[in-house]
């Protein structure tokens, strides 16, 4: 009986359902409270910091021996910038930590923080692309005049020719507002100091515990072995918790300095101000089309506002270089020219957020297809059909190799499910009644499960990618798999247990997955980039497979059979073609306690395996129907269909959950959420009531169709699925809004598409119509 493919309820859930989850703040009782005093000024010179006498207040001067955070890209176009743990001499963004206070509890720490006064001579803050890239603009970092920290360029030789010969050139300027991944649990850490060993254990709400340990040890110049990092239950991350933040360095420094237990649990305002941001991007793109709708060439100028610093370890290159590499997405493009820049400003630091650049790339390509279709008199689906990749492996203009996918099939499936013809009838009737319905499509690829080659190609100083898994079957037949990956709500442990149970002929309940503890797991990279099911899953399959080989050798000796005739299933080691079998726990016990009998297997049942794949591509098509209220500019999503190909589904229920959540964030990005700075660099959106994450009232029911392409690029045959929902949804929603407003002839290239922005478009169109 196979466990793969079953919607097994999650093994993670029982403790979470009864209030026995262990999130960082739940562990912090009894620890002293740490609070960061943050700059209210976006840019300026620190003249002095005054603090009450006799209290535990620390400033940059106290942290003199601590190195700044400074991730590296080995590219000639990258300028490294240093992020100090506490601001020294200058402040670079509103919310930057200036001082640390420590008190007995949170309330007292907040009282104390209010008594710390920083005298800052404010300077003009640079907030946006216009300010940063203006002729003669001041430099945010003195050694980076021009304010560009990374700039990738490439241009295929035939680009100009295809533009010269094009029947239609579609030029678009697109804009994405700055957004926050906004996990419901903010960042937080608890540093416990051990008096005897001098070791610190840092419990932290993070996605990359091993990387955090390395980063902290490097900045504090301490041996890694003196630090243990534990990611307990983590209340969502979505990328925001995969960077090394100064706060964690400070906590470990404090614990070692004060020799006591300390906790920092950030509040929501702090999460908006000082945690990572993303998606603040402006793209200017031209597409050259032939008369029949063939996309001949793409010429792009892509800008990403990376904020004041560069995120460790992936650097501020993550958005710009992803944009450069993947703009063509699922489309055949022969000629490609691109310039992609990471622009520094006096704003919060950009770091990965579910999708990384691809929501904006997909918006770009999908809006371009719709605009081109209209100009060329083609059906929007037909122009996509003519350009979607359909032979595999496909090599993109940037050298990415796409494994087998179902790009066209997914689009046809989505179109069928949403029933385009029936919708067009309904749309016409609604229009006659003054109602504005629209339909929109979004076809995209989701590159997942890529190992070291992809990161090495980016020139990263620290090259992530592989995962190591240690798999043990103990003498009682229970299995432990220790993984370097570090899930934070996805249900990875359940899916991995299903995978391992199949390899070892046992049940998922007998498989314990151990993650998130640097003392208990092999060095690994964590959970991000839709990688864990592919890479940690692949390593689990390999490690469990090696344990299975040894189990079979032992079982074969015990039953006087050949190892190749032994199968592991339903808790038994069975000899095929006979009625011989032994319970697996009995075989396991023999492997440990009678090992002298099995020299070929060796003692015990412990195996390590590493998996470092080149990567695979999931694909999907989103289709949605919206109604736009032209009086208010409000958008209601009536239907949302996802036709998704994530390869083999290990646990379909978990896959669907990932799609639901991703689409919800994509819709949020499309319609609601935006971090807004005023002209002085003061963040205006610092509560959930300002930031507008959607509630259930704004969310449609998501209808999911699965396609299953079996790939050789992933040994579990699973492709990643964590980001797709967020990647595809914005384009589908914006295309549907434009379709709904087609009587006005408006175009929309900015997200979030707020009621104000939609009303402005309608107003302008009406003004023009009335002369």
């Amino acid at each position: 009986m196979s466990w793969i493919g079953r919607s097994l309820p999650r093994l993670e859930d029982p403790s979470l359902l009864v209030g026995q989850g262990r999130y960082v703040a739940d562990l912090a009782r009894g620890a002293a409270a740490v609070k960061f005093v943050r700059s209210p000024i976006a840019a300026g010179r620190i003249l002095g910091i005054e603090a009450p006498e006799g209290e535990l207040v620390f400033t940059a001067a106290d942290l003199a021996g601590v190195r700044p955070i400074c991730p590296i890209l080995h590219r000639p176009d990258y300028i490294a910038v240093e992020q100090p743990v506490l601001a020294k001499d200058r402040v670079m963004f509103c919310g930057q930590a200036l001082a640390i206070v420590v008190a007995a509890d949170q309330g007292l720490a907040e009282d104390l923080a209010e008594q710390v006064f920083a005298d800052i001579e404010a300077e003009d803050a640079i907030i946006d692309f216009e300010g940063a890239l203006a002729e003669g603009a001041a430099a945010v970092h003195a050694h980076a005049p021009g304010n560009v920290l990374v700039e990738g360029k490439l241009r295929s030789p035939g680009l100009d020719a295809v533009f010269a010969d094009a029947a239609e050139i579609v030029a678009l300027d697109l804009r994405s507002g700055r957004q926050s991944a906004m996990p419901l649990e903010g960042r937080g850490g608890l540093a416990r100091y051990d008096d005897i060993s001098g070791r610190v254990t840092l419990y932290a709400s993070v996605q990359m515990p091993h990387m955090l340990r390395t980063g902290i040890a490097d900045t504090l110049m301490m041996p890694e072995s003196d630090l243990r990092v534990v990611a307990p239950d983590v209340g969502g991350g979505f990328g925001q918790k995969m960077s090394l933040f100064p706060e964690y360095v400070a906590l470990v420094w404090l614990a070692r300095h004060l020799k006591r237990d300390l906790a920092w649990i950030e509040d929501r305002r702090e999460n908006f101000l000082a945690s990572a941001h993303s998606r603040d991007q402006a793209f200017s793109v031209r597409g050259a089309f032939a008369k029949d709708g063939t996309l001949l060439g793409l010429d792009a100028d892509l800008k990403s506002n990376v904020g004041a610093f560069s995120c460790y370890p992936v650097t501020c290159g993550v958005e710009p270089l992803m944009a450069l590499a993947e703009l063509p997405g699922p489309y055949k493009v022969a000629e490609y020219g691109v310039r992609s820049r990471g622009v520094t400003t006096n704003t919060g630091m950009m770091a990965p957020y579910r999708g990384v650049s691809r929501p904006m790339l997909t918006l770009t390509m999908e809006r371009m297809m719709d605009v081109a279709a209209r100009r060329l008199g083609l059906d929007p689906l037909e122009i996509r059909r003519r350009n979607l990749i359909d032979t595999f492996p496909h090599r993109s203009p940037t050298g990415l190799v796409y494994d087998e996918g179902s790009y066209k099939e997914a689009m046809e499936r989505a179109a069928e499910a949403i029933d385009v013809a029936a919708f067009r009838e309904r749309q016409a009737k609604a229009r006659a009644q003054g109602r504005h319905l629209g339909i929109g499509f979004s076809v995209f690829s989701e590159r997942t499960g890529y190992g070291t080659p992809a990161y090495a190609a980016r020139g990263m100083g620290i090259v992530p990618g592989y995962e190591i898994v240690s798999c043990t079957m103990d003498p009682s037949g229970f299995v432990e798999a220790r993984i370097g990956s570090s899930p934070h709500g996805q249900g990875l442990k359940t899916a991995l247990a299903q995978l391992i149970a199949d390899e070892l002929g046992t049940v998922p309940e007998k498989v314990r997955i151990i993650s998130g503890d640097t003392d208990a797991t092999p060095y690994g990279w964590g959970t991000f980039a839709s990688r864990s099911m592919v890479i940690a899953g692949g390593a689990c399959k390999l490690a469990a497979g090696k344990v299975a080989v040894r189990l079979k050798i032992v079982a074969a000796v015990l039953m006087q059979a050949k190892a190749e005739d032994v199968v592991l299933e339903d808790g038994l080691a069975r000899v095929v073609g006979t009625n011989l079998s032994l319970p697996i726990p009995e075989v396991a016990r023999a492997a440990y306690h009678q090992s002298h009998r099995f020299p070929e297997a060796g003692p015990g049942l412990v195996e390590n395996a590493t998996y470092d794949p080149g990567g695979t591509f999931s694909n999907a098509c989103h289709a949605c129907i919206v109604e736009v209220d032209v009086e208010t500019g409000g958008v209601t999503i009536e239907r949302f269909v996802v036709a998704e190909d994530a390869g083999l589904l290990i646990n379909p229920m978990i896959v669907d959950g990932q799609i639901h959540g991703g689409v919800a964030q994509g819709i949020a990005n499309a319609l609601f959420e935006e971090l807004v700075y005023d002209e002085t660099g003061n963040l205006l959106t610092v509560s959930l009531a300002d930031y507008l994450p959607p509630t259930i009232a704004e969310m449609p029911t998501i209808e999911i169709e699965h396609l299953v392409t079996i790939t050789d690029a992933s040994i579990t045959k699973a492709k990643g699925v964590g980001e797709g929902g967020a990647i595809g949804a914005p384009a589908a929603v914006l295309n549907a809004i434009v379709d709904a407003l087609s009587p006005y002839g408006v175009e929309l290239f900015q997200m979030p598409a707020t009621p104000q922005r939609i009303r402005a478009l309608i107003r302008d169109a009406e003004r023009k119509a009335h002369g």
Binding site: P9, L16, G19, G236, A697
Partner: protein, 165 residues
């Protein structure tokens, strides 16, 4: 700083004698003074609802109520939902229908739905959606939350949990 008040907080039928500043929220008192850390804080602005508990049967944002205000009232938290090993129908439905991912918002949704369904067992899906729109979830897109709550509602109607609290 401020003077502390000795109060008795009744949570899940048990009395906790605690000493708190007047400014201490019910959420902080439950978590830090009573050790009931199942109630989570997602914003402390009263927006996300992760800290929702029942006070005399009504859903309340425990980050917006002071602990001293809860004295003399019956507070119920997620820790009190299951009876021993037997999960409440809502907990069971959330498990079976994948109504949670990271689990951080889950206690708040469970208490919100418990309060709503105990007060009015016959709520329609539309009414439940309206009620559930007071809390935020970042992981699930809400789809399996409403599915779970509807499943639990029908089970609770068929087989009402005894009101022995």
């Amino acid at each position: 700083m401020a003077e502390k008040h000795a109060i008795t907080l009744n949570a899940n039928g048990k009395d906790y004698r605690i000493s708190v500043e007047a400014r201490r929220t019910l959420a902080d008192a439950l978590r830090d003074d009573c050790g009931l850390t199942g109630t989570h804080l997602g914003c402390e602005h009263g927006v996300c609802g992760a800290c929702t508990v029942l006070v005399d049967g009504k859903p309340v944002r425990s980050c917006l109520m002071f602990a001293v205000q809860a004295e003399g009232q019956a507070v119920r938290t997620v820790e009190g939902l299951a009876k021993g090993e037997v999960l409440h129908p809502l907990q069971k439905a959330f498990w079976e229908n994948h109504g949670l991912q990271c689990g951080f918002c889950t206690p708040g949704f469970l208490m919100l739905a418990t309060g709503a369904l105990e007060a009015e067992p016959d709520l329609s899906e539309a009414e439940l959606r309206d009620i559930l729109s007071s809390n935020l979830c970042r992981c699930t897109g809400y789809q399996n939350i409403i599915k779970s709550v509807c499943a639990a509602a029908s089970e609770m109607r068929a087989c009402p949990p005894s009101a022995d609290r």
